[in-house]
């Protein structure tokens, strides 16, 4: 038994003693024909031997099984360098991912997400925002006009006005959405793109507050190393007006326009600037995505090329 090389040999040994016709089995079977005294003695010894052998056999069997398994495992293998099978998953558009991140950051700071129409009136897109007709300032926005007397909004700023008209201050909102510009397309210009507008109106809101919110946003979006600066700029709906630049990998990059909401805009929405000052900002989401994912051509977002989209 102890010399059995494998389970098969062990089984032969087992059968030889404990099988149906095994030597010990035969002895136990012959007990009934024996005289009583002999029966007791031999019976006890035979049973002890049987128990002893059973224990030994099962131990030997376990050892051999383990050995056999180990041998088998040594032979089995996977070519772990062969490619995995591709999981059939879907993909969200990079601008959706960016938009969600933007919304999460601002929602965590108490901003509600509001939307507005993509076809707008001249009033909401321009006049209410202090951009008069026949004024060169309108040239800042190349506009698509529609034959139904509306236009395609050139920025998400009209949402500010629509929101202020219907709600009571204080406000904290962002308005993400699609905007349109009538211009020639190239790697950094598209005829439609995505923007997020922000508005905060409250007692004593200041430039210092705007700076803090912007810095917080860019650092949460791009990481703590993102540094911002404000530069003077001009947008008719804010005063003072700024351009915000972000220092990213050593270069200053223009990220968006912003400023303190112009008193005329507040007036158009029925508010008094001295009582309810506030700031507004607009940041291009395509630009955020381009920097985040190192995309060098804005047109990729709207081209529907799956080789691009399935990377996200």
């Amino acid at each position: 038994m102890l010399h059995a090389k494998d389970l098969k040999e062990l089984d032969i040994a087992f059968k030889q003693y404990l099988g149906d016709n095994g030597e010990l089995t035969l002895i136990l079977r012959s007990l009934k024909d024996m005289p009583k005294a002999k029966k007791t003695k031999i019976g006890r010894e035979a049973n002890e031997l049987k128990n002893f052998l059973n224990v030994k056999f099962s131990k030997a069997a376990a050892t051999l099984k383990e050995k056999a398994q180990k041998e088998a495992e040594l032979k089995e293998w996977f070519d772990i360098t062969a490619p995995g099978k591709k999981a059939d998953i879907g993909h969200l558009h990079p601008l959706t991912l960016v938009r969600r991140k933007v919304e999460d950051i601002f929602e965590s700071m108490g901003f509600s997400v509001i939307e507005g129409p993509e076809m707008e009136t001249e009033w909401y897109n321009f006049d209410a925002l202090n951009i008069p007709k026949d004024h060169p300032a309108r040239d800042l926005w190349d506009t698509f006009y529609l034959k139904n007397e509306l236009l395609l909004r050139t920025h998400t700023s009209p949402v500010q006005i629509r929101y202020m008209e219907k709600n009571q201050p204080p406000f904290r909102i962002i308005a993400p959405g699609r905007v349109f510009r009538h211009e020639a397309t190239d790697a950094s210009h598209e005829i439609n793109f995505c923007q997020v507008e922000g508005l905060m109106i409250g007692k004593d809101i200041s430039v210092a507050n705007l700076k803090a919110i912007m810095q917080e946003f860019f650092q949460r979006f791009f990481g703590k190393s993102a540094e911002i600066r404000l530069r003077p700029s001009y947008f008719p709906f804010v005063e003072p007006g700024f351009e915000v630049d972000m220092k990213w990998r050593g270069d200053w990059m223009e990220m968006g326009g912003m400023g303190m909401v112009h008193p005329n805009v507040l007036k158009n929405a029925g508010l008094n600037a001295k009582e309810w000052p506030g700031f507004a900002f607009g940041v291009g989401m395509d630009r955020l995505a381009m920097i985040k994912y190192k995309i060098d051509d804005i047109r990729l977002f709207y081209g529907g090329d799956l080789r691009f989209l399935q990377q996200f």
Binding site: I89, G90, H91, L92, H93, T96, R100, E103, E107, G110, F111, S112, V113, I114, E115, M119, D134, P136, A137, D139, F144, L146, K147, N148, L150, L152, P170, R172, R178, E183, A184, I191, N192, M200, G202, D204, S206, V207, A208, N209, K211, A212, I213, E216, R229, L230, R231, P232, Y234, E239, P240, H262, P263, P277, Y302, G304, D305, L306, R307, L309
Partner: protein, 671 residues
């Protein structure tokens, strides 16, 4: 706009910071400098002057004023010294030329000088160099001076040959229908009554504020000139410039508005320089049409307000200093200042404008970020966004890739773009499907299986609404139907059913445009017999089906606005039975046209509550099945919530189902 570093330096006796450093200062305090370049012995700065500052900063003197305010260098805001004119006792300009302005509303001021004894010739080097640095060609020593003074002061000037002006008259009026003019460069223009002109007694001699005419051009023969320094209504110049599709250095300045008080100092400066470069003798006096004088206005500035708006405490002394450096006069005491605004600052009209001036010169980098204090009002939940995100996630889990397409298309739509950038983008999309199809065409070469979707606005008349649409190639109808079932299930929308596709408008009072991609279009994209209307109860929420396209594309088109109102966030947990289920298979032979749903309805009705689920696992037609028939194979799952079903119970229900099925004589259960 291009500026010459050397010309900017000419306003200061102290050496300016190096060009790159100067550019950085201007960028941080005034305007972005997009480029600094060496140009011969000069440097040129390309400065993006902001449109509201064009009035004073489309000029070197304006930029010099900015530099003075930023650096605290003196002097600022003054022309170089030495432009006093010698007295000319002989002739008065008023005796030589008359100026007739029909309305001051389109020409608030017209200043003219007459200069005699002109020797026209080439310009001196310093003049040529300054013009070249700013990108202007040298013409002669008179015209160049006019251009130079425009670069210096921002006031466009024009020169006429006095001898060539008919009746010695200058009239500012609108052009008459049919009048024409040949410009200095030989370009011919047809004029119309929207265009303001300078005319002599007979005809237009210049397009006012835009470009001079060829006729009274000066040349070597010219002896006497009329120098014009005028102020025109910005809107009129802007419209005229658009009408003629002609932008010039002058028109750009006029359309942004210029200080009306600038005409005089600029014309005197030019007369002084012409005297130096072309030996001209300016006549006594100028002709000056200026009926309504413009004076500096005053703005009250509350320094507490300034501090609260900027969120920074700037010492009062510093504020006064900044304002004075910018050329403002500051009166008033303590926190209430009265600030006198020079007329060249057309952009300053409210206290906030002054606060911006203080902030930017002080330096926005010195304003430290401070978080606002606000009530702890949590953001409102936006249900549109909530469901849009949810839908996108579900489709992504179902293996779809999200695309963003243009809101435009070339195929007919209800909303036409007035000024499309190309024929490809002539209409706003009335459906998401056509552009999604283009995505398939683009990708089909690289992918055998495509599943894409988009959530976006479609446009009809003056309305827009959000849709959810998707297309798939290399997938069959039932795979996409499965994805739809998953979508509705995850949105908690029950009672979804698929109705026969109908090419007639459904009766829900919704506008039904005749448009490509829409259900009732004559050019409907859907294959009628392979498409379904998706309904929830009796509300039609969209379509699912195969499109008329060689690529066998399966598409869905759902109304997001309806989905969002039907979706339910709560999901109730269904108790999992502790008792074992019994599965019995059942095959039913039915005519080809029989719908699975009809069979399912019978099974469910006959089975009752103990049938936990019925699962169609095979539809077979072909070999072994007689023509015109198909075999439907179901797993029927029997299960109770409260006990283990006995085999006799299951047998009885199963027999009942078979009996009910066979009540339809064309159906045959295969036991």
């Amino acid at each position: 706009m291009i500026f010459s570093y050397n010309l900017l330096q000419s306003f200061f006796s102290r050496k300016l910071p190096k060009p790159d450093k100067l550019a950085e200062l201007l960028t941080l305090h005034s305007f972005e400098v997009s480029e600094v370049k060496k140009f011969k012995s000069d440097h040129v700065l390309d400065i993006d002057v902001l449109p509201n500052r064009a009035g004073d900063c489309f000029s070197h003197v304006g930029i010099a004023r900015e530099i003075a305010a930023i650096t605290n260098y003196v002097p600022a805001g003054h022309l170089p010294k030495g432009d006093k004119l010698p007295k000319n006792k002989e002739n008065s300009a008023k005796d030589f030329i008359s100026v007739d302005i029909r309305s001051q509303s389109y020409c608030p001021r017209y200043t003219a000088r007459v200069i005699g004894n002109i020797k026209v010739g080439p310009s001196p080097k310093w003049l040529k160099d300054s013009l070249a640095a700013c990108g202007l060609n040298s013409i002669n020593n008179v015209v160049d001076v006019a251009n130079y003074v425009m670069l210096e002061t921002g006031q466009p000037l024009h020169v006429f040959d006095y001898e060539k002006l008919d009746s010695k008259k200058i009239i500012v009026r609108f052009a008459k229908e049919g009048e024409k003019i040949t410009a200095l460069d030989g370009q011919k223009f047809d004029l119309n009554p929207k265009i303001l002109v300078i005319a002599d007694g007979q005809k237009p001699v210049a397009i006012a504020g835009i470009k001079g005419g060829k006729e009274p051009e000066i040349n070597e023969m010219t002896k006497t000139i009329v120098l014009e320094s005028a102020n025109f209504n910005p809107t009129i110049i802007r419209k005229g410039s658009r009408e003629l599709n002609l932008k010039t250095d002058a028109s750009v300045r006029f359309e942004h508005g210029i200080d009306v008080n600038l005409t005089e100092s600029a014309i005197n400066r030019a007369a002084y320089l012409i005297q130096k470069t072309a030996l001209g003798k300016p006549f006594r006096d100028s002709v000056d049409f200026y009926p309504q004088k413009v004076y500096p206005k005053k703005i009250k500035l509350d320094l507490n307000y300034a501090e609260s708006l900027l969120g920074a405490k700037i010492p009062e002394r510093e504020i006064r200093n900044i304002l004075m450096r910018l050329g403002f006069k500051v009166i008033g005491v303590r926190n209430q200042l009265s600030v006198e605004i020079p007329t060249f600052r057309l952009d300053i009209s409210i206290p906030e404008d002054l606060i911006e001036e203080i902030g930017r010169i002080y330096g926005y980098d010195k304003i430290l970020p401070v978080f606002p204090t606000a009530s702890l009002i949590p953001p409102k939940i936006n249900n549109d966004m909530l469901w849009e995100n949810q839908i996108k996630d579900i489709l992504k889990e179902a293996g779809f890739t999200e695309t963003y397409n243009y809101s435009f298309q070339k195929e007919l739509g209800s909303v036409e773009v007035e000024n499309p950038t190309s024929q490809e983008f002539k209409y706003l999309r009335p459906s998401l499907i056509p552009n999604l199809l283009k995505n398939i065409e683009k990708n089909i070469k690289s992918f055998n299986q495509i599943k894409i979707f988009e959530v976006g606005k479609i446009f009809y008349d003056k309305t827009e609404k959000r849709m959810l649409a998707g297309v798939a190639a290399g997938q069959d109808f039932y795979q996409i139907k499965g994805a739809m079932d998953l979508l509705f299930d995850k949105l908690g929308i029950v009672k979804v059913w698929y109705d026969d596709y109908q090419a007639t408008p459904a009766a829900f009072g919704e506008p039904r445009p005749v448009l490509a991609g829409r259900e009732d279009s004559p050019k409907s994209l859907w294959k009628e017999k392979k498409s379904a209307e998706i309904k929830v109860g009796n509300i039609e929420v969209g379509f699912l089906g195969e499109l008329k396209n060689e690529l066998k594309i399966v598409a869905f088109d759902l109304d997001f606005e309806k989905l969002k109102t039907l979706a339910i966030e709560d999901q109730a947990y269904k108790t999992i039975s502790k008792y074992p289920a019994t599965i019995r298979d059942l095959a039913v032979l039915v005519p080809l046209t029989t719908k699975v749903e009809e069979v399912l309805n019978v099974i469910e009705a006959a089975g009752g509550s103990l049938v936990a689920d019925v699962d169609l696992f095979d539809i077979y037609e072909g070999e072994g099945i007689s023509d015109g028939q198909k075999n439907l194979a179901f797993h029927i799952i029997y299960q109770a919530q409260d006990r283990t079903l006995t085999s006799i119970e299951v047998y009885k229900i199963h027999q009942n189902i078979i009996k009910s099925l066979e009540e339809n004589l064309t159906w045959q259960a295969r036991k």
